[in-house]
Symmetry: C2
Subunit: 104 residues, 2 copies
Amino acid sequence: MDLTPEKNAKVFKAFCDEKRLAILELLRGGEKCACVLIEQMEIGQSSLSYHMKILCESGIVESRQEGKWTHYKISEQGSYEAMQLLKAITTPYATADDSDCCNR
Amino acid sequence: MDLTPEKNAKVFKAFCDEKRLAILELLRGGEKCACVLIEQMEIGQSSLSYHMKILCESGIVESRQEGKWTHYKISEQGSYEAMQLLKAITTPYATADDSDCCNR
DNA sequence: GCTTCAAATCAAAAAATGTCAATATGAAAG
DNA sequence: CTTTCATATTGACATTTTTTGATTTGAAGC
């Protein structure tokens, strides 16, 4: 896991948009192809494509080509890494002695 | 935990911006007051205030007033709830049998 | 009461993100 | 090799987010 702020922000971009959360919710039901997602999301084709790109780049979703169709599913590894990252980002350093702040 | 998409997106807004990730990184070192964050982030006062509001509304950060100063720190509970939420959002339903997709 | 200082709020501008319609790509079928 | 179909990409536009500077609020000290 590399920890540049840009990469980290990219991971969580997957979750900070309602439409993408709705897509993930659909994918929780198992792998789906783009055509099904378009139908269920009631969203334009290029708009879905845009969101799927962000989801894939975050590592949370993986895609699989099958002839003309693209199938998407939640990546177990990506999800796991996001959990690890979230934990790392929100866990205080060993000894947080709250020194040095202002006039205290 | 309520699970409206708007609320969920709000939680992860905390993590999808580089500046906010940088602020969290500083807060990992312990509670800090706004003046210290402004200094270390090299950011305008109102800009910091804006980001702190988003961080607080996400539940990841909590603030404490002390006279004129406001102190911020990472909320253990908020972080825990975000972890739970992330897990919930990325875990497939019990039996994902990948039925019904396209022409398969 | 007035003054001072930290932080929040507001309004406008700037930057980034998301949408839509059109076009491009690339696989499969004929 | 042409057509067809699913998805990706592009560019123009709309919407949202972020920044900036000015103003307001609210606590503390005089």
